[in-house]
């Protein structure tokens, strides 16, 4: 079973189209992960006491 599955995946991965698709999804996942981790903008300003105008 495991042997057959490995063979199936290897065969599949050797096909250029599948390989490109898999790699594209991997790259997208990495970029989206980075955006989720670091993408939030911090546009806050320090507090200040307004004293006149």
């Amino acid at each position: 079973m495991i042997k057959r599955s490995t063979l199936f995946i290897t065969t599949l991965y050797n096909r250029p189209r599948v390989r490109v698709l898999a790699l594209t999804l991997l790259y997208l996942a990495i970029v989206l992960g980075l955006i989720a981790l670091y993408g939030k903008g911090d546009f806050s300003t320090p507090p200040f006491i307004y004293q006149g105008y």
Binding site: P16, R17, V20, L23, T24, Y27, V31, G39, T45, Y53
Partner: protein, 414 residues
């Protein structure tokens, strides 16, 4: 994909994957930017009617709203400071929220916003300001301090706008250098973005080698700005989702406004709130602050110090840079300024002839850049025009501002 099947060696496949992933990300971010622009444009009319402080602050930070307003032909952008947060229906943003004469006003500014902050906001819009009508509301108290207060600058500083100014390709190197020099007065604010800080330092160094390094850094700075733009889009979309429902203002009829009638109505409304003092100031402000100014000897002025401080204020330099930037970006500016309540300032120790130096200096700057100016100095003795002496308009004062903005939009300024 026959191309892929024929490719040898197969190790180049990862380059294709990277290219496809890049395309997908670019389409997604482009879609986010487009969607934010249309959502921000649709939210503009109801934005001004909301006075919740959290919303006002987030609106002030959002560049997407300003960009959406700049893209619409029926909008005037109004930049200023605390006066733009007045709670009166005569405030321009609210007054024009149903476009009674065919246009809206997006007001941008919070307490303590001065010209250098406004310059950065304008730079973040870049060429979107080409041909756009932009009004600046100038507060005379900005010029009462030699260097604008660091706490006020910090409190209104947005790193994405500062970075946009430092790496704005539509602005001349000379202008960016002068602006960077001023921004480095508050160097700690730039430390949040090492690329922007380095860019500012390289600009200020102004040697051939440093200029070359600046140009080498420019692509990275522009990439930085692109990231800020997408972050701003995401923040703006979140803000739009948080916007409360507001009741739309409906006037009985649209068309030309009877300005005299509006001014009389506004004055009547304010009269009841300003009966406790001989200067026509808001009772609340009078009791809280301005009665004490007259009696406390430490808060009084003399002509000499007022003249020295006012004429030597760095704020003039910042205002000039802002006008230069508007000129370089191809915008059509209007300068608005609130008058100094003459009698109050005289009782504080500043004679009318010295007060007039402010109007003269402002007029000469406007003339230098060929910018129309309405300073309302003829209302310096009008006790119903100002809410208080620190550049806050009364409802009647706002009617006059509105009238000037209306004439500005319709090319009817005299």
């Amino acid at each position: 994909m026959p191309v892929l099947n024929e490719m040898k060696p197969p190790s180049t496949l990862h380059l294709w994957s990277a290219f496809f992933a890049f395309c997908v990300i670019a389409v997604l971010l482009g879609g986010l930017d487009w969607y934010t622009a249309s959502a921000a444009g649709a939210a503009l009319p109801r934005l001004e009617a909301i006075s919740l402080q959290s919303i006002v602050k987030a609106k002030d930070a959002s560049v997407a709203f300003q960009r959406a307003a700049a893209a619409q032909s029926n909008t005037v952008l109004l930049y200023g400071s605390s006066e733009l947060n007045a709670r009166t229906r005569y405030r321009a943003g609210v007054f024009f929220s149903d476009a009674p004469t065919g246009f809206y006003v997006l007001s941008v500014g919070r307490p303590g916003t001065t010209s250098l902050i406004i310059l950065q906001k304008l730079a973040s819009l870049g060429t979107a300001l080409q041909g756009k009508k932009v009004a600046l509301s100038i507060s005379q108290p900005w010029m009462n301090e030699q260097i604008p207060r660091a706490s006020y600058y910090d409190g209104n500083f947005y790193i994405q706008n500062a970075s946009a100014l430092i790496f704005q390709p539509a602005l001349s190197l000379d202008l960016k250098r002068a602006a960077a020099e001023r921004m480095l007065y508050y160097e700690n604010t730039l430390e949040r973005d090492p690329v922007a800080l380095l860019g500012a330092q390289l600009l200020v160094s102004n040697t051939p080698g440093h200029n070359a390094l600046y140009y080498a850094l420019l692509p990275l700075g522009m990439l930085d700005n692109l990231v800020y733009r997408f972050q701003d889009d995401a923040e703006t979309l979140q803000l739009i989702q948080r916007l409360p429902t507001v009741r739309e203002r409906v006037r009985p009829e649209k068309g030309p406004i009877d300005w005299e009638r509006e001014a009389a109505k506004a004055a009547e409304q304010f009269r009841a709130e300003s009966a406790s003092n001989p200067y026509g100031m808001s009772d609340k402000q009078w009791q809280k602050l301005y009665a004490n100014y007259l009696t406390d000897p430490h808060l009084r002025w003399i002509d000499k110090t007022f003249k020295q401080r006012m004429l030597g204020a760095l704020e003039w330099e910042d205002l000039e840079l802002t006008l230069r930037a508007l000129q370089e970006l191809g915008a059509k500016p209007l300068l608005l300024s609130m008058p100094l309540p003459r009698q109050y300032w005289q009782d504080l120790g500043v004679s009318p002839s010295v007060q007039d130096l402010y109007y003269q200096r402002l007029a000469s700057l406007a003339q230098k850049y060929n910018v129309p100016l309405r300073d309302f100095h003829e209302h310096a003795d009008d006790l119903e025009f100002m809410n208080d002496p620190m550049a806050h308009l009364s409802p009647k004062g706002w009617v006059y501002y509105d009238q000037a903005l209306d004439a500005f939009y319709h090319d009817a300024l005299q």
